[in-house]
């Protein structure tokens, strides 16, 4: 393997990569199940995506093309730092364009453009345990998963509806994977939940601090927890379009305009937004 700047290809040593890949394979075999792995020290602080980063470094090869986003944006500091680190230690080309990437590492979003079978999306996960809010003990939560003892999780949704009329969970809405395990989809908006269901691509989730890896393989059923008569609802942007590209079918960020004191909305997925503007310009 070629080395860059005295590091091993993709920074992590080959043995560690093998270990991580084993955990990834196990995670793929058990969709939604959290697999422990020996999280490494990386030249980046925990909480800044070390889980996702290790997954990416373990699977990336010289032929890959990398895209890194943070909240849908390729240009944010966190995304830039991670992309630089991976690029410097692998030499793989990087891209902003979703369609060009073979690996997309992300924090908090799934790109608007549907992903393909030859693409892998890697999520940075702060809290991998969906039962965390109803069972603080990791040991007990693990037993609850093993026994599909999910009543208490459901009660937390029930109580939300009693108190607020609907489920108030915004990001990281709990999902049932393969009718088997409840999974935290990482803090993506509800908007993105449907993209996980029966998707063409492989989804890998890495939590560095909690040392957990999990996966949603392609063509796997992923359903938000919902009562039969209280259907899950994603964010509603009706009446708004992106102020840059005019899109009315994407997840929008609300922006406060200091100059005018008003508000406007723009695509959270900047690459999607840019590609629409470019297409418009080309016409």
């Amino acid at each position: 393997m070629s080395t860059h700047n005295d590091y091993n290809f993709a920074f992590i040593d080959e043995n560690a990569k093998k270990e991580i890949r084993r955990s990834i394979l196990k995670a793929i075999c058990l969709p939604g199940h959290q697999v422990p792995f020996a999280s490494r020290e990386l030249p980046i602080a925990r909480g800044w995506g070390t889980g996702g980063l290790q997954v990416t470094l373990a699977i990336i090869g010289p032929d890959d093309v990398l895209k890194v986003i943070d909240q849908g944006c390729d240009g944010s500091v966190n995304a830039v730092n991670l992309r630089d680190l991976i690029h410097r230690t692998t030499g793989v080309p990087t891209t902003f364009e979703t369609a060009q990437a073979s690996i997309i590492q992300t924090r908090h979003r799934i790109p608007e453009l549907p992903l393909r079978e030859d693409q892998i999306i890697v999520f940075q996960v702060p809290i991998p345990e969906p039962l965390h809010y109803v069972e603080p003990s990791i040991e007990k939560a693990t037993a609850m998963h093993a026994e599909k003892d999910y009543a208490r999780m459901w009660v937390s949704l029930y109580e939300d509806i009693v108190n607020y009329g609907s489920v108030t969970i915004g990001a990281s809405y709990p999902v049932m994977v393969h009718e088997n395990y409840i999974m935290a989809p990482s803090p993506i908006p509800k908007w993105d939940i449907a993209k996980l269901n029966m998707a063409n691509c492989l989804h890998l989730f890495g939590a560095g601090r909690e040392k957990r890896i999990y996966a949603v393989p392609p063509y796997t059923r992923v359903e938000p927890l919902q009562f039969e008569d209280k259907p899950f609802k994603k964010e509603d942007f009706s009446g708004h379009v992106c102020a840059r590209c005019g899109a009315g079918d994407s997840f929008l960020d609300e922006i406060f305009d200091e100059a005018s004191g008003g508000k406007y909305w723009v695509c959270s997925d900047t690459a999607y937004c840019d590609s629409r503007i470019q297409k418009e310009a080309a016409v």
């Binding site: 459901w154 009660v155 009693v162 009562f227 039969e228």
Partner: protein
């Protein structure tokens, strides 16, 4: 009476390593449950009984005699040291439920048994509403329709005389008597054939006690549910039960029809118990 609901043979619970001689130096004759040789606590030994459909069995005895240990072993809160317990609604009584894997025990707890503890907050989650606590039980029976859960919870709370306005209140904010009623509702949620009641009126005001006991009688009558009632209070035992076991230092000292035991206690210890009550 007809078919048994549960039969228990040789139930034993030891705290400690135990030695070959634990049995010969503990029990009512020695007035201790602590082994003189090894220091182990023989909380239960040689406990055998049957409970028939629609029957209420009382377990009475002084504090520390092992009453709670019996129901907690049957409800799997405690792991029995040895013994055979067959629950007839489960696998037609073929299995020893005490040695089932955890997932099967959980199934039994959710569907075939209800437990009511002296302390309501052992059976309820204080940070959930009354309705939410009942919903938790209903959800284990795969009822995922919000409206159905609400309707069933309301009906269950009505049966235990909890005003509908308490349905959406957090359990920890309710009075002890109200919590106890909610706990009973929750225990009944999935229509279990067997209900275990451990000193359920002990912490309550006297006036509330009477109401709760009446309610238990009515529920038993309406649902023909089998019950094990644990109490140190012979008044409770007299009011509720058909048959009674008297427990002392982890052993059964007397077992028979409640009326007979109260009228004409044969065991010296039971005589003491009965007389202390008069």
């Amino acid at each position: 009476m007809n078919e048994p609901v549960i039969s228990v043979e040789g139930l034993e619970k030891t705290y400690g390593e135990g030695c070959g001689r634990c049995g010969e130096c503990t029990g009512p004759d020695y007035n201790t449950n602590v082994c003189r040789y090894c220091g182990s606590v023989i909380a239960l030994k040689d406990v055998s009984f049957e409970l028939y459909q629609g029957e209420i069995l009382g377990i009475v005895g002084e504090s520390g005699s092992g009453k709670s240990t019996i129901v907690q072993c049957l409800y799997f809160d405690l792991e029995a040291s040895s013994g055979l317990a067959r629950l007839f609604p489960y696998d037609r009584g073929k299995a020893n439920i005490l040695t089932l894997p955890q997932s099967r025990k959980r199934y039994i707890r959710n569907h075939l048994m209800g437990m009511v503890y002296q302390n309501p907050l052992l059976g309820l989650k204080g940070y959930f509403t009354s309705g939410g606590n009942i919903a938790e039980k209903l959800l284990t029976a795969d009822i995922y329709n919000y409206h159905n859960i609400r309707t069933r919870s309301a009906r269950l709370l009505d049966r235990t005389e909890v005003d509908l306005e308490y349905m959406d209140r957090l359990c920890r904010t309710l009075s002890g008597g109200m919590q106890q009623r909610v706990q009973i509702s929750k225990a009944l949620a999935n229509n279990p054939p067997l209900l275990l009641l451990d000193e359920i009126t002990t912490g309550l005001d006297v006036s509330v006690q009477a109401r709760v006991l009446d309610m238990i009688k009515t529920i038993q009558h309406e649902l023909m549910i089998s019950m094990i009632v644990v109490s140190h209070d012979l008044g409770v035992i007299r009011l509720l039960t058909n048959r009674t076991m008297v427990l002392k230092k982890g052993r059964i000292v007397e077992h028979g029809l409640t009326d007979q035991i109260l009228e004409d206690p044969r065991d010296a210890y039971t005589q003491l118990l009965v007389h202390s009550m008069l």
